[in-house]
Structures are given as structure tokens and as C-alpha cells.
Symmetry: C2
DNA sequence: GAGAATACGGACTGCTCACTCCGTTTGCAA
DNA sequence: TTGCAAACGGAGTGAGCAGTCCGTATTCTC
């Protein structure tokens, strides 16, 4: 158990660059874009990409983890707000910024199926945060009581998907309305 | 303009076999499954697959067209029914049988974006059928009036997506509730 | 500033996969 | 039944891509 030295400055910088470039590239070209393209966008050699992420899949997972982490943070933040619409704001925000081909959907897909080891911790973190937010909203009578966290996450995926094919926010509105408590019109 | 002879019997049979096998294989393995796998499943050589569908993409499109055609037919059938819940039955049926990796979502994706030449006719057919069904439902006061055909299709895609991650039908129920007219509780 | 450790770039490898080509087989018409 | 056009099968081809390797460059430590 040797206490590893922190990575060199250029290494840290490059890792960040690769992640950012990957997000861009995969968002535009889809996740089938080649690693070389990512490297080029990052201004870096392929070797460097693979040193930081031993596998293309590892790179994809890192992006997913990054995104889920942000969403979980957002959920916690909203849970801290006294606004009764906090749950809906959160939901809309998540759907709103999933505007690319590397979809939130793909990220959430991992939650639904068989969460890989790498993302299991974040998955749990997210689930927990959403649970708090959801329960509060249900206590407030804002959200119907017959939905659970898993349903909410499935609906997040669904709403993100729907958003891609619609010109406006109507589908999101429909889903949010469906989530409201019956008598909270 | 030579009147082409009808294709030979074995050719017709093989074409059908390939389509069926492709549906199976792509459903299980996703659309990245290889053409050879499809050929094997169909009990046919790769050459045969490519003779009937000059491109892998053409094969995929043929499947999409097939599916959209079925859905459109279903919509028309429901539109002919006097049942006020026809619209909801249709919606649930579509979502219900999209249970594979070659998703309805992928098919509908084509509608949202830039419908390829090959599927444009079916797209129109489907849109028209759904329009009729939707309008009837809105006349009956069963469905809210502020959604259009495009919204419905987007929501179909969304609901199919959501279904993948949920263990039960709750997300579908939520979406259907969101679609109901406000006072039609 | 020197030396060692760490990281870099990108040519290279091996593999997968879509698609082609042609010798062989099958179905159809007369 | 025979002849020929229409299909078939599957080995072969080329392109693209994930991941490796090693000579070179950069950073850190003393």
C-alpha cells in the first residue's frame, strides 16, 4: 500500500481535456465516434487517452459518472429548498440539459439494467438524493403517492427521450402533470 | 419500363426469413449485431442477405418500416372503434410491445429527425392515422386539447423508453394520466 | 541544473465487419 | 426434360477502429 504521489501537472490537465473533448465529441457524433477523434479534439495523442482511460468503455463510463454526479448534486440542492415545486424544477432541469446524442438516457440506462461496478456508487447516491426530494414532494401533496424512485428515474429517461423529438416542452409538461397529485390541480 | 417478372419462390421465402431473423437478432443483440449473425439465424448466406437488402442500413430501415406500418394499422383499427378509450388502448399497446433493444424508439427517432426517403411514406401514414385517433379522443373530451400529433409521437417514444427501466406499468400510467383532459378524471 | 520518474505522441497491430464476386444450385417456361 | 435466367453460398477484400509499444519530451525532486 504505497502512498501514490499525485499525478503530474500535465497529466491532470490532459485528463480534464480528454474528458471535456469526449463529452463534446460523443454528444455530437454519438458514442460510436472513434477514440482518435476524441484525442484530436483534445489536442492529444491516442496513447494519452488510453493511458487515462484504459478502455473506450471506461471513458464512456467516466462521462456517465460525471453526469450522474451533477444530477445527484442538483437533486440534493433542490431538496434543501423550501419551494414546494422543487421536485418539478429538478425534473425539468434534468430533462432540459440532456440535449445531445450521448444521452442522459444512456446514462440512466445503466441504472435500469445491471449497474456496472464503476457507476454503482453514483447510482446509489443519485437514487438516495431523488428519494429525499420525492418524499418531500409527496408529503407536500405535490406529487402522487403511487410512484417510487425507480419510476421517477424511468420517467426522467422517458422525458429526455421525448424531448428529442418534440419542438417544444409540451411532452415534459404532460409528464409533469401526470406526476402531480390528483387533487393538486 | 419493362414489366418485371415476380421474384422466384425461393427468393421470396428467403427475403421473409431474413427479415424475421433480423428482427430477432437485432432485438436481442442490438442493431450493432453483424450481418453474418443475421444470415446465420436465417439459415442463409451473407450474400443472400445483401442481395435482398443492399446495405445493412437498408435492412434496418426495412424493419422500421415494417414496424411503423403495423403501428399505423393499429391506429386505424382503434380509430374505427367507438370505445372512448381507444386512444389510450392504442398508446398502451404500442408501448407494450416495444420490448427489445431494437427499439420503437429508434424507429420513431427517424420520424423526429430527418425522415429518410425510404420511411417517409410510412411516417406520413402513421402521422395521419394518429391524427385521426387523437382528434376523436379530444372531441370526446378524453384527451387534453393542447397536444398535437407530434407530441403524442414524442411521448410514445418517451414512454417506450421509460418502460425499459421500470419493472411495472406505472410510468405508462403516469403519462396516460398526463394526457387526459383536466376534467375527465 | 542534473537525474530519475512520469507522461506524451503516434506509428503499428490485430481484429471485426460491411460488402463483393463468382462458381454452383435452383426454379421456371416451353 | 432441357436450357437458361434468377438466386444462392461463402471465401475474400478493404476499411476502420480499439488498444499497444517505445523512443522522446516534460515535470518533479534534491
Amino acid at each position: 500500500m504505497t502512498a501514490a504521489r499525485p499525478p503530474r501537472a500535465d497529466a491532470q490537465r490532459n485528463r480534464a481535456r480528454v474528458l471535456a473533448a469526449a463529452e463534446q465529441v460523443f454528444a455530437q457524433r454519438g458514442s460510436s465516434a472513434s477514440t482518435e477523434e476524441v484525442a484530436r479534439a483534445a489536442g492529444v495523442g491516442v496513447g494519452t487517452v488510453f493511458r487515462h482511460f484504459p478502455t473506450k468503455e471506461a471513458l464512456l463510463q467516466a462521462l456517465i459518472v460525471q453526469r450522474l454526479t451533477r444530477i445527484a448534486a442538483d437533486a440534493r440542492e433542490q431538496a434543501a429548498s423550501p419551494d414546494p415545486a422543487a421536485f418539478f424544477d429538478f425534473f425539468a432541469a434534468v430533462v432540459g440539459d440532456s440535449a445531445s446524442k450521448l444521452e442522459l438516457v444512456d446514462a440512466l440506462a445503466e441504472l435500469g439494467g445491471d449497474p456496472t461496478e464503476a457507476i454503482a456508487p453514483v447510482a446509489e447516491e443519485l437514487t438516495a438524493a431523488v428519494a429525499v426530494l420525492l418524499e418531500q414532494a409527496q408529503q407536500d401533496g405535490a406529487v402522487r403517492k403511487d410512484v417510487g424512485v425507480a419510476h421517477v428515474i424511468a420517467l426522467l429517461a422517458g422525458a429526455s427521450q421525448a424531448r428529442r423529438y418534440a419542438a417544444d416542452e409540451r411532452p415534459l409538461a404532460v409528464i409533469l402533470d401526470g406526476l402531480r397529485a390528483p387533487n393538486a390541480e
